[in-house]
Amino acid sequence: MPPVMDSVALAAPLVLLALMGVVLMVAAAVFRPMPKGAFWMASCATVAGALVLVALSSGQPANEAFSGMLRMDAFGNFFACASLLGGLFALLLTESYMERIGVRVGELYALMLFALCGMLGMAYSNDLMMVFISLEVMSLAIYAMCAIKRSDERAVESGFKYFILGAFSSAIMLYGVAFVFGATGSTSLTTIAHSLASSGGEAGTLLLVGVALLFVGFGFKVASVPFHMWAPDVYQGAPTTVTALMATGVKAASFAAFGRVVIGALGEDAGHWSGALWVMAAATMLVGNLGALVQNDLKRMFAYSSIAHAGYMLMALSSVSEAGAVENDGIGSLAFYMLAYVFMNAGAFAVLSLMTDEKGDDATDIAKLSGLGKSHPWLAAGLSLCLISLAGLPPTMGFIGKFYLFAAAIGAGQVGLAMVGALGAAAGVYYYLRPMVYMYMKDGHPEIAQDGRAKLALGVCGALLVVFGLMPSAVLAWADVAVRSVIG
């Protein structure tokens, strides 16, 4: 087999997604109007196939593909799984939701697969050039998906806002890549790590500027303060299933690339940036949680909640880099929490995607939940479980995840940051329990669409949240192996 084919075989999940994306793109042009079910089924099968491919390769030792552009290791596999699961759950909701809001566009599924291919690229990239290109593949597909309902002004606004600000932040990030290249002579994360190690972990001004600009780019993608302004408008305006993908897959992929750069490439000189991460994490947790308190629209509330959770995960990143990584027990907390975050958001958005009015618009005002506990007890129970997990209460995966996050921060000596996080989490309990008050203590007749697939997604997420909340050790061990695989 020629060496290129070896690389292609290693990157099989990405190749599968890209190829099927192209197939669906052509099919969408040929089969008009879009046949019911076929596109949805094909894309579900593709994402499931990619998941299987990632799972099959998970036992392999770390391997470089395409002359070091990709690094297929446990870290990449873990975050690829998180992104693909997020994508699969979002896909489960997509078809019937798009039917309800009156969008019949076959290209949507092609864009979805392209976006997932970009996410996998970000999870595996071992070169800043590939990180950037993958990020753009993912983002461009998401921008278009945000505005896919062109008759809805808010959706178009959401897509346009995300596009303009995203393009701007990409440019800043690219500038940072150029600076890092100038300082270290390479865009390969491995070479950057070597060059930092050989200079005794002492970063020059050029590198500091470059890393600062990179942090701006990543900070925008994970929606961390002060680069979070876009999130509420974009989350609220975009179609609910696209928002679900943004809250799960995009977040996981962005944190994968961010984590690989901070832990893998810059770990040698962590002292320089853990301070910056500290400030970003603290501000993000506070602004996200406090902003969510006053929201009455559920999608907007989940936007602030996603900002807050970006803060928690930045706290994990900060504590890993502070503790010199290897000796820290809580090192897997970042990955574990990411997976928990995917499950609880996917479950919550499964319910939100059912909240549409007869005109085909989203009706996600919190008051619309009134009486859900009586009329749809199972939906209400599932949503409550996700909210409890988001709030970080037992017996859910969110509780275990938060526990390890805070343990890691305290273990790394970042008690102050942990206290800020605890304050934010306490505020979080209020706004996560508020929808439950509406569901169980107020009377009303909620308009909820019937959709078996959304119920399936909610059921699977809820079950996993409880199972992994009670028996977290296997996932924790996997998360630990994953993050360790990226060090050195």
Partner: protein, 174 residues
């Protein structure tokens, strides 16, 4: 010998068509003269062994950018300007002529220095010491067999995605 004859021929063509760009009265004729100028320059690049630059020149400038120009001209429907009497010079024309004269003097002064440098020295310097530098073969080697295969393919995926996105958002409802 043939090469330098061709080089000067294409250079002359570039200068003539360049002049035609600013002398034509109709905008579309100007734009088409610019196409000729771009092609002539691309031919000059080939003579200078910068094959890749030549290809990019044709693809990007003569291809994409010119199509854009002509689209804009057609969309805006720019009329031919009303008859200005030939032979009169406006203030702007005089200032333009002076600027062109200054640029010409500067260029001749700069070229004068180049002419007296041995040609071989310039060639080696331009080619970075490697005879194949700048050829399509060297570029292709890097892109398809070297380190940049994956980024190259990924960029083509990126372009596909942006095209699908643009079409989905811009096409009329059917």
């Amino acid at each position: 010998m043939t090469e330098s004859v061709l080089f000067y021929l294409f250079s002359l063509l570039a200068v003539v068509s360049g002049a035609s760009v600013i002398l034509q009265r109709s905008t579309i004729a100007s734009a088409l003269s610019l196409v000729v100028c771009f092609f002539a320059l691309a031919a000059d690049y080939v003579m200078l062994d910068a094959h890749f630059v030549a290809v990019v020149q044709v693809l990007v400038y003569a291809g994409a950018i010119m199509v854009l120009f002509i689209f804009v001209i057609m969309l805006l429907n720019i009329r031919e300007p009303g008859a200005t009497p030939v032979g009169t010079l406006s203030n702007r024309g005089i200032i333009g002529l002076m600027a062109a004269a200054l640029l010409g003097v500067a260029l001749i002064a700069g070229l004068d220095g180049l002419v007296h440098t041995p040609v071989t020295a310039i060639n080696v310097d331009l080619q970075g010491g490697q005879p194949a530098y700048g050829t399509i073969a060297a570029m292709g080697e890097e892109l398809f067999r070297g380190n940049y295969l994956l980024p190259f393919e990924a960029v083509s995926l990126l372009l596909t995605v942006s095209m699908v996105g643009a079409v989905v958002l811009a096409k009329r409802e059917v």
